[in-house]
Every structure is written in C-alpha cells, then in structure tokens.
C-alpha cells in the first residue's frame, strides 16, 4: 500500500492528467459499446435463457465424428420497433465450431424477425440469427492492448500505438483513393503509401536524426529491390506454382492484390532491419569516433548476421500460421498432403520468401547507406 502511495505521489501532473483522460475514454467507450443498440438498424437480441433440445452424432464421408447440438433460445429485442419483446430462436452448433457457436445467456445477436408469426400481439416473436454482436469484445481487446503497451512501453508504447493508428488510417485512405480512382494501379498507390508509412513510422519510433534518415533510405531501397526481384521471378517462371484459386476475398485483379500485399507485408520487417542496422552502426561510431570504415563495416555485418535468422522467422510465422485452419479442414476432408499444401500455402510461402529476400538484402543496403551517412557526418566534423 505504501509503495503504491509513493508511486502515486511521484507521478507528475502531466501523467496524472493523461491517466485521467485515458480512464474517462475507457469508461465512456465501454459504456457506449454496451448500450449502442439504437445505432444499429438491424434488430439486436440479447440471450436470456438457453435450453439444449437435442444432440445428434454426425459422421461424415471421411469418418470424422462430431456432435451437433440444437439450442432453443429465449432472447430479448434491444432496439427498433419490437424493443423489449421476447423472441424465440434456434441455434445449431457443433462441438468443433468451424462455422457455428454455442450461445450462452448474455450473448448479443443480430437477428431477423419473422413478421408473419406476429399475428397475435402476445405471442412470442420468432426469427433467425444472422451474426454475433462482437464490437464490445473488439473494443475490450483494443483497450487491453493499449494499456499493456502504455504500461510496459510508456512513451515508446504510446508512439507504437500512434504509429499503428496513423498507418491504419493511411492504408484505409489509400485504398479509398484506389477504389474511387479509375485506371490507377494498386501498386502505384502502395508505393506512394510505402514511402509515407516508412517515413511516418520511423520518425515516430526513432525521432528526427541521421540514424532515421539512413534507415528510411535503406528501407525504401530494400523493399523496392525485393519487390523487383519477386516480380522478375514471377515473370520468368510465368507464375508456375502459385495457386491463385484459393486466394480469399477477391474483388479485384488478384495478381495485383497479391503483389501489393507482399509489398506492404515485408515493409515492417525491412524497416526493423534498417533501423537496427543504422542505430547500432551509429552507436559504434559514437562510442569510438575514430573507428575505421573497415572496422565499422565488420561490426555492422556481424549485427546483420545476428538478426537475419530471427527476422526471417518472424515473417515466416506471421504469414504461414493464418493458414492452419484451412490446412486442417482440407486434410480432414480427405485431400492428399501435397495437394493441400500447394493449394493453401503457395501464396503465403511466396510472400514469406519474398519478405525474407527483402530482409537479407536490407542488411548490406543498410550497412552501406549508414556508412555513407557516417562519412558525411565525419566530413562535416
């Protein structure tokens, strides 16, 4: 208790003000998201009571055993004309839950109401479930995320959050421009976007200084070069081995979407490598201002070697892991392993490999750009 009191008194006014603002924001948004029913046009029902009606054992063509349950649900309409009335719903869910969920009292659902059943006013409404209301969970997660980052990272954590938010808004805006402008290539939009992303993120993370300039130049050179290499490889091999059939959510030319995704996806990792290279080389230089360029190169290359493995791993796992549910579903539906892998992993693997190429290329590029900036600084005295 005493420790906490001491901690509290040691906080500056600015910090206390910031905490208060944060807590007020947190409370208002949480209250809002729990009572925002009237902002939705679709009827929302809150589950009051569930009853298990029946269980069926299912065995599919591939001898997969599963159980399917039927739930009878009593829920209360929370918005619109029927507000306050009860509704009767049925929910079917399986124990695997690939496309269904078990509902519990307190869950909120978007429903559609059957109006022909509404002849007698006292009778309960009936309807079907359309979607689960998830906004409150998303908000809670966003707050947990922000509190963790602020608690651990403080100022740097705040900058990481700002950087994420600014980049997300920028990306969304760039896509709006792309969709509303006829005849503009997604790659052009993403190239302009990439320059902005890099400049904003690196300035936010690292401040205005020579290290950041060197990192920006290295990032841009590294990403564009790796994109060029990937493009050339795809041209030369006429894209053999890439299975676009399984690419999801496609409303636009898929090659373009794939290339643009690859581009943006590797940007963060390349930035990380570039900034690590430039800060550590500048660090060595500042510690030993008289160091020879050769020695600087050697220590830079050593750092590069150290980060190469883990950085390529990060990208690799970030990309491949998203395919796990699809892979399991494919395999469980009796598809052979080779077919499953080539169908649902080829694009992710290509992305990971291209990102890896970008990371490795950025090591020498970052090395030479930083040394160029070090030399410039030295010449200036």
């Amino acid at each position: 208790m005493k420790v906490i009191c001491n901690k509290l008194t040691s906080l500056s006014r600015k910090q206390i003000a910031l905490c208060t603002v944060l807590i007020i924001c947190f409370l208002t948004t949480v209250i809002f998201v729990n009572y925002n029913y009237s902002f939705y046009k679709v009827p929302i029902a809150k589950v009051i009571e569930t009853k298990l009606e029946g269980t069926t054992e299912k065995v599919d063509n591939f001898q997969n055993k599963d159980q399917v349950f039927t739930q009878r649900i009593k829920a209360e309409i929370k918005n619109g004309k029927e507000k306050g009335r009860l509704i009767d719903l049925t929910n079917e869910y399986s124990s695997s839950g690939a496309y269904d969920h078990e509902l519990q009292a307190g869950d909120e659902l978007f429903v559609s109401i059957d109006f022909d059943s509404d002849k007698e006013i006292h009778k309960e409404l009936t309807g079907t479930i359309k979607e689960v209301k998830r906004d409150k969970y998303l908000l809670m997660m966003a707050w947990i995320f922000m509190f963790t980052l602020l608690l651990v990272g403080q100022k740097q954590g705040l900058f990481a959050i700002i950087s994420l938010a600014v980049n997300a808004v920028l990306l969304s805006y760039a896509l709006d421009v792309y969709i509303h402008t006829a005849g503009i290539s997604l790659l052009v939009i993403c190239s302009v976007g990439a320059v902005l992303f890099t400049v904003i993120s690196l300035f936010l993370v690292n401040g205005f200084n020579e290290k950041t300039y060197a990192a920006i130049v290295a990032t841009l050179l590294g990403t564009f070069l790796s994109l060029l290499i990937t493009y050339l490889v795809m041209e030369v091999t006429s894209e053999k081995g890439l299975k676009y059939e399984e690419i999801q959510f496609i409303t636009r030319p898929y090659q373009m979407v794939f290339m643009a995704g690859l581009f943006i996806g590797s940007l963060g990792a390349v930035m990380d490598v570039a900034i690590t290279m430039s800060s550590s080389i500048f660090g060595v230089y500042e510690e030993h201002p008289g160091i020879s360029v050769k020695a600087l190169k050697k220590s830079g290359l050593d750092i590069g070697k150290d980060i190469m493995g883990t950085m390529t791993n990060i990208l690799f796992f970030a990309y491949i892991s998203g395919s796990i549910p699809m892979l399991v579903l494919y395999l469980k539906n009796g598809n052979p392993l080779g077919f499953t892998l080539s169908m649902s992993l080829s694009l992710e693997l290509a992305r990971a490999l291209a990102g890896g190429i970008g990371i490795v290329l950025t090591i020498p590029i970052g090395l030479y750009t930083t040394i160029f900036f070090v030399k410039r600084k030295r010449a200036r005295g």
Binding site: N64, F110, V152, L171, S266
Partner: protein
Amino acid sequence: MNVLVVLTCILFILMTLVGGKKGAKSFLAIFFNFAVLLLIILLMNDPNLDPVILTFIACILISCITLFFINDVNSKTTIAFFSTLITIVILLFFIVVVNKMAMIQGFGEEEIEELSSYSLYIGIDFVKIGASVIIMSTIGAIVDVAISIASPMREIYLHNPAISRKTLFKAGVSIGKDILGTSANTLFFAFFGSYLGLLIWFKDLSYSFGEIVNSKIFNAEMITILWAGIGVSMNIPITAWITAYFLVKEK
C-alpha cells in the same frame, strides 16, 4: 521452373552470401521450423490430441531451433528460451478465453461459400485451433524480443557485475522499450499485407462500419494483431525479470 523453388534458391544464396556460415544456419532453421509447423498441423488432425498442447510443444521446438541452433546453448539463449515459454503459457490461457467469448473461431460467412463442398463437422475444436493460429503468428516475434533483451542485459551484467537486480531489471525494460515500436511495426505490417485483399473486399462491397466491426473475419484478424502487440510487450518485463533474477545472485 516453380516460383517458390526459385525464390527459395535466391533466399538461400543471399543468406549465405551476406551471413556466411551463420546465414546458412539461419536458412536451415527456417526449414526446420517449417517442418515442425507441418508436423504439428498433421498431428492436429487427430481429434484425441489437444491443439493447445500441440501448439505449446511446437513453440518449445521452434524456440529451441531459433535460439539454440542458430546461436549456441548459453546463459542468454537459455534465459530467452524460458521467458518465451512463460509468455506463451500466459498468452495461450487468455487467448482461449477471449476467443471463446468473442466467438471468432473457424471460418466467416465470407469464406464459407467457397468451402460449401467441404464437411465442416470434422470433430476438431476450432476455438483451440484459433488460439494456435494467434500464438504461432507471434512466436517468431516473441523469441526475437526475448533474445534481443537477454543478450544486451548479459553484456551490462558482465561489464558491471556489482549491479543490483533492480537496476538490471530496469535496464532490461528500457532496452525492451526501444525495440517495442519496431517489433510491433513488423507484425502490424505483416498482417496488413495479408489482410489487404480483405480490406479491399470490405470497401468494394461497401460494408457499413457496423457490419465490419461485428464481422467474424475482421474481428479474428484484428484480435490477432492486438494479441501480437500484447504478446510482444508482455514479453519485455517477463524477460527482463527472469534475466535479472538468474544473472544477479543476491545475498
């Protein structure tokens, strides 16, 4: 020639050129990690094995490969290894809870059309598979943060062995803060890149804001990004504390 084969060859040549022996080792590590991932996915097909436990085993193997194979077995990699595992255990627990509440497991309605010919009743718990996806997406970054903190902390300790546990811990957290921004950025952009198609899809089909924030797919993707950020930042004090605890023997 196959695109993937050519890209793999280019990556291998570049890694050996730039990194020499260590580069070749790093390349091999990617291969081993891929093998581990495949093995675990194959094992997940057995309904009697728990996907969460399988994921944990995969994480142990992957951290071993990334830490002990690329580097050596020494005090800093061992510390990084244990910090990674502790972070993973804590994360796994909370991820399963949140996934269950938010009902974001499995496939969304946008995906289900193309899967219509498949049987979805396959007897595998998709809530746990979903938790596995989130952990596996972040494991690379968590290992990276752990070793990036443990290694300079050991340097600091070797330079002044009289340092107190608390001071060393603070130094570790401050190193962690510096890498937090870039590590989080790496993951954010990787996810943005993967979800680009989805974002264009939402915009092209003019989803309303309400539809987007409640859709299963969007929630699943966003919650993955947020967990990645939480995992990376949670790992910082954990690693700093474990390193300080093991290195400084207080009387």
